[in-house]
């Protein structure tokens, strides 16, 4: 398993992509006065790609950003607020998101379509757009290219997150270095179907637009779409990629060594951000890596892994460090599989934190105390081998604790 989330202070200045500036502020959307508005700008129009929620309830900023990605030739900025999701807010919510992109465009001297907008926070409460519009002129002037400013962007995106989340990687093309820097937020309502709550990745590599979209979709499936906190798919899930080419590297094509280096850097950044989200899952104390092998297909493996990863009984057992593999087997048994894809419960092996506890669907003797101790670590690998094919999938999930209930029973009232 990859090492968990690295703290932001570890970011080295020479990993900052060229040609981007960062700014953030507290415009008053969060009652506690914390930062709640962030702006990322590209000096030149960047090639952009996006992956958005599959929830049929889509927030206004999702609809506006999707439209702008379709029509704009390039993207100059991403503006994001926390404290309010601007979702289930009807026509006035759409007007709010449009006014926000127009205000940013005015400051940058570009068209509103060149600005993407994201919101995160409570659903169904009208967004006080005046606070955002009032803050934009100053925000646009404040933008600088520094690791500190980038760290503050990650903070301004937080809602119930306990830590800001970013990740960086670099790779070389034609003798030059290109960088990839990603930001994410998310701790609850995490069960991404196409992306996660909010994540932005900027690179100074040069990419063609179709390449950008296809690589982002593939990476999203293996990273953000492979985590879950509570099985609840958000209405605002958005993953955006900007590529402005400011590194001076030659444009990447969808093949060759250099392309593979870029995909590897992008996937490393997205993977780290995705793990940072599940590690910071609301109330979570540990993360389980649910790996399903030997499934009839990769899709079936993913369905089994996802059912296990969202089972409240599995997640509470994980909270207690309880080697209760019967709950894992029962969850696998109820996984919805496509017609024809099945498995024989009497062949299943289960390994908890490296110890085999179930062999051929039955108890296999193990040292309960020793496994209990290993289950109390922050990282718990769980391997389920269905012995029914070659399909594989891995889903990361966190434990379900009393703290999750406290956070969510007290969110508004």
């Amino acid at each position: 398993m990859k090492p968990l989330f690295a703290e932001p202070e570890l970011l080295s200045p020479d990993l900052l992509p060229k040609g981007y500036e960062f700014a953030s502020t507290a415009c008053g959307l969060k009652a506690n006065g914390r930062p709640d508005l962030a702006l990322i700008t590209s000096d030149t129009p960047a090639v952009a790609a996006g992956v958005f929620t599959r929830n049929r309830v889509k927030a206004a900023p999702v609809l506006v950003s999707q439209e702008h990605l379709r029509v704009a030739g390039g993207i100059r900025a991403i503006i994001a607020n926390s404290g309010n999701a601007n979702c289930a807010t009807g026509a006035s919510g759409l007007a709010t998101s449009r006014a926000t992109t127009a205000a940013v465009a005015r400051e940058l001297g570009c068209s509103p379509e060149e600005v993407l907008v994201c919101s995160t926070g409570v659903i169904g409460v009208p967004l006080e757009v005046g606070k955002i519009l009032g803050a934009i002129p100053r925000l646009a002037q404040d933008g600088i290219r520094s690791t500190d400013a980038a760290a503050r962007v990650a903070r301004a995106m937080m809602t119930t997150d306990t830590r800001p989340k970013w990740s960086a990687a670099s790779f070389r093309i034609g003798g030059r270095q290109a960088n990839v820097l990603g930001f994410a937020k998310g701790a609850g309502m995490i069960h991404p179907q196409m992306a996660t709550m909010l994540a932005f990745v900027v690179t100074d590599a040069a990419l063609a637009r179709p390449v950008a979209q296809s690589v982002l979709s593939g990476v999203a499936r293996r990273t953000f779409n492979s985590i879950t906190v509570d099985g609840d798919t958000s209405t605002n899930d958005t993953l955006l990629l900007l590529a402005n080419g400011a590194s001076g590297c030659p444009a990447l094509r969808a093949d060759g060594t250099e392309y593979r280096r870029f995909v590897k850097a992008l996937e490393s950044v997205c993977q780290e951000l995705a793990l940072a989200i599940v590690t910071d899952g609301e109330g979570a104390t540990r993360v389980a890596e649910i790996e399903v092998r030997g499934a009839p297909s990769d899709v079936a493996a993913e369905q089994v892994a996802r059912t296990i990863a969202t089972s409240p009984l599995v997640k509470t057992a994980l909270a207690g460090g309880d080697p209760n593999w019967g709950r894992i087997l029962a969850a696998a048994g109820r996984a919805p599989l496509a017609k024809g894809a099945s498995f024989d419960p009497a062949r299943v092996d289960i390994r908890l934190a490296g110890t085999i506890v179930c062999r051929r669907g039955e108890a296999h003797p193990f040292d309960e105390n020793a496994v209990h101790e290993k289950l109390l670590e922050r990282h718990v690998p769980v391997v389920i081998d269905l012995k029914s094919g070659q399909g594989r999938a891995t889903i990361w999930t966190c434990d379900l604790t009393t703290e999750y209930v406290h956070i969510n029973a007290d969110y508004r009232s």
Copy 2:
């Protein structure tokens, strides 16, 4: 909504079906010495029907009872233990269930196929069948027809249940009274796909076998299959119906007034037991009735209702009495619907405890404190009108509290 679960002491002796006896004991499967073995016998072979879990991991007693129902001409007894599910126990688990039915058959002087067997408790631990076999001779002698003995059967079925669950109803056929008495257990791993954890209904009405099975399947769908505690479908779900005809009433046929009276009595008993289970959901403090109207079809309505009813964010908001309807709308938006079945989020109305809080997909002003107070009651009706058709469904769910986490994080270790 129906009144919640009535306590067992309210059962009147003249509601006891004729021709059945009840016995229970503590045979030592439960470490705390509580009753863990129950026997229901019919004086004569009863017509029987069963509805079982759809989990592809099926416990040994489920497989044995399914087989016996297929081959037996009539059923003389149901033997049920708590404290161990006899699931994921392989060939020796099957031998255990068979030995149990054989031991009961020996005492009753019938064939093993005339005995049904059920188990509930922890998964994956070999069942100490010696304890059960040792207790059976005495258990078979102890059987009597009394409300006290029936109440003790309900107690011996309990695992994490805090209350025994039974329900009774009567109806008249051709001038005679026939009775229906049902027992159930279940508090966690509750998301029945065909039945619930364990429920037994006995009647002294006379029924043909095909009638018994079809009426039971229909009633199960509207009652036990319409509740959820945690979305986890058990490996042992079993609902059994015995009809021995001891009332002396003429046999019921699948039409006519008297048949409808029977279905009504059976449904009333199953409904009350199902609500008793969800009310006693692990850690639950209240029950929400999630009613979806205006869906493209009844199936779509059920999928939306089920997605809302299993959302951890909806269930924690319910725990806090938080009128956070945005979480309900977001859950509806991610419900998996069949191709072609959809709805427009911008038409959805949501009513919490009688108060409209969302109209046409947007916030509708309401008195937050007043609704909060109503959400703290034990029964919370929630109505979601999709305005996209005539489909309807109702699912009952309980809140997700810190106590649920305590119960399940501490179950074994």
